[in-house]
């Protein structure tokens, strides 16, 4: 083949560091997690007892774990729906060929630089029950001023707002890149033919955007499942009364606070199943796009 080097050993040498790290720190520990999930490990002696599927059965029958699964799906759904809808609207507006829209595109990415823990702390400040600007605004609009973090339902929504806010700019940047791929002539032709803005959007823009929409759906879901630990730990510690006790927080509690290695690993395997489903959907519907994650 033209332009390729003939060296036989060098490519292996170049690949060795990556392969070694993946095998030693990702593949082998994952297989061990699968094995550990079938054991009950004593926190005192460290010895394991084979218990078959018992850990999984206990999890499935546990109200706490089922609640945790439901709340994770609810929060993920909120982030995906609210965050992506808002991001798409912003991207469509900002993609118009009008002067002076570049300013917005720059500033909107800022929250992406922040960690979930920092985002959570800032939103806890904004929703502070006595001085928070969000509290003051909502009180002015509705007359309500609850202590947000003491109420389970409100706490979930504050978590969703903080988490979706952090992803806003990331989503907008990808939607904007996707919108560049929509041929301007196609839209203009449709407009000349008398199609309204809404019709052009749903019939032309949205279908062309669907791979990127799906990619962002997967990225936002993975974010909701795996990246929100810091946000929860800083804002609510899973409370009040377990209202924001998402799967990753439960895993941390069981594995590292209660030292139940087997139970923790069984939860890891269930999380792996969820990643597997999302990744399979990703490859099936969105193609092999570079994941920024």
């Amino acid at each position: 083949m033209e332009g390729r080097f003939p060296n036989r050993i060098l490519p292996y040498a170049l690949l060795f560091p990556s392969i070694a790290i993946v095998v030693a720190f990702l593949i082998v520990p994952s297989l061990q997690a699968l094995r550990l999930a079938f054991f009950e490990v004593s926190p005192f002696t460290g010895r394991g007892l084979f218990v078959g599927l018992s850990n999984f059965r206990v999890l499935m029958e546990s109200d706490i774990y089922r609640h945790s699964l439901e709340i994770t799906l609810l929060i993920a759904g909120g982030i995906v729906l609210a965050g992506m809808t808002a991001s798409l609207a912003v991207a469509v507006l900002a993609s118009q060929p009008l002067r002076g829209l570049g300013v917005y595109r720059v500033a909107i990415l800022w929250p992406y630089a922040l960690s979930p823990a920092v985002a959570g702390t800032i939103w806890a400040l904004l929703f502070d029950p006595s001085t928070g600007p969000a509290t003051l605004l909502i009180r002015a609009l509705t007359g309500l001023s609850p202590n947000w973090m003491m109420n389970g339902t409100y706490a979930v929504w504050v978590v969703v707002i903080a988490a979706a806010w952090k992803m806003l700019g990331f989503n907008v940047v990808f939607f904007l890149a996707g919108l560049q791929a929509v041929p301007g002539e196609l839209r203009e032709a449709a407009q000349v033919d008398g199609a309204g803005a809404a019709r052009v959007f749903w019939r032309i823009t949205f279908p062309i955007l669907s791979p990127i929409t799906f990619f962002l759906f997967v990225m936002n879901s993975l974010y909701a499942f795996f990246e929100l630990f810091g946000l929860i730990d800083v804002m609510t510690q899973g409370g009040p009364g377990g209202a924001t006790d998402i799967l990753i927080y439960r895993l941390y509690q069981d594995a590292f606070i209660s030292a139940r290695w087997g139970m923790g690993s069984a939860q890891s395997i269930l999380l792996f199943v969820m990643v597997g489903i999302l990744t399979a959907l990703q490859f099936r519907f969105a193609g092999r796009r570079v994941f920024y994650g």
């Binding site: 990556s18 720190f25 917005y104 909107i108 001085t131 810091g230 923790g264």
Partner: protein, 277 residues
């Protein structure tokens, strides 16, 4: 679009300005509160102008949780991981694209892709146990080495290298340049944009990592700034927002600066990826 007229133009600007305020206001407000005294935070009506207490608040936060050490640790691990991932990703992508096919190439590609399927939470207990076995608990090794492999980076550079004209490496070969000389002298300078984009993404990722540093470090010498935020929040009975926000500013300033410097490369790298489909 011109025929939509002034109304549509104003509406578009108004909505985008609102979205920008939603994105930026919380960050600016955190800066604002970090400059107030404790009394000013609870003043009504709220004080909107910046105060003069930032250095005093920062000194408080610095003393309470040892911010200096935390910032140093976060810088060391974020820089090490970002640079390590860039090196390994470039090397792997180069091996996949610029050599005659070799046995095991497909298998190696799959192994690196698998990284996507195995985020830390799905292997956290055995990885923790492995760190104990290696004696890496409370060490920089534990906070950096397990993160070095990058499927994102490998795919990004592989995709980019595949768009390079074959004549480029052919010319280098005819001139007698070896593959590594070609990589360093020709290919890397052409990859500046992607290198910057990957550096930004990975620096932010590692600087912002929370769960792994929390469980793998227990000594105050090895803690990172993200965990420091939690320590600041937790030490307060009545939230001293001014001090907490001084800590938040310290934790978010470095990644914000990296974002501002490299944002253009990041956006351009995404746009290019889109065009290639």
């Amino acid at each position: 679009m011109a025929r939509h007229g002034w109304g549509a133009l104003l509406g578009t600007h108004a909505l985008l300005a609102l979205a920008t305020v939603v994105a930026v206001f919380p960050i600016l407000y955190a800066f604002q509160v970090s400059t107030l005294t404790f009394q000013e935070v609870f003043a009504f009506p709220p004080k909107l102008a910046p105060g003069h207490a930032f250095l005093a608040n920062l000194a408080q936060a610095w003393e309470r949780v040892g911010l200096g050490t935390l910032l140093l640790n976060s810088s060391v691990i974020a820089l090490t991981v970002a640079l390590g991932k860039m090196c390994l990703a470039v090397m792997a992508a180069f091996a996949f694209t610029y050599f005659r096919d070799f046995p095991g190439k497909g298998a190696c590609f799959v192994i690196i892709l698998i990284t996507h399927m195995l985020p830390l939470p799905v292997r956290i207990v055995p990885t923790f146990q492995l760190m104990e076995t290696l004696g890496w608990v409370n060490s920089y090794q534990a906070l950096t080495i397990p993160f070095f492999a990058s499927a994102t980076g490998t795919l990004l550079f592989r995709q980019f290298f595949l768009t390079m004209p074959p004549a480029l490496s052919e010319a280098a070969r005819v001139d007698g340049a070896g593959p590594l000389v070609f990589l360093v002298r020709i290919l890397l300078p052409l990859s500046a944009n992607n290198l910057a984009a990957l550096f930004m993404v990975e620096f932010l990722y590692m600087w912002n990592e929370y769960l792994w540093p929390l469980i793998i470090t227990s000594s105050n010498d090895m803690r990172v700034v993200q965990v420091g935020i939690k320590m600041l929040v937790a030490t307060d009975a009545q939230a001293e927002w001014n001090v907490i926000m001084a800590g938040v500013v310290a934790a978010m300033a470095p990644p914000l600066i990296v974002l501002l410097l490299l944002q253009r490369s990041f956006v351009r790298s995404i746009s290019l990826g889109q065009e290639k489909g």
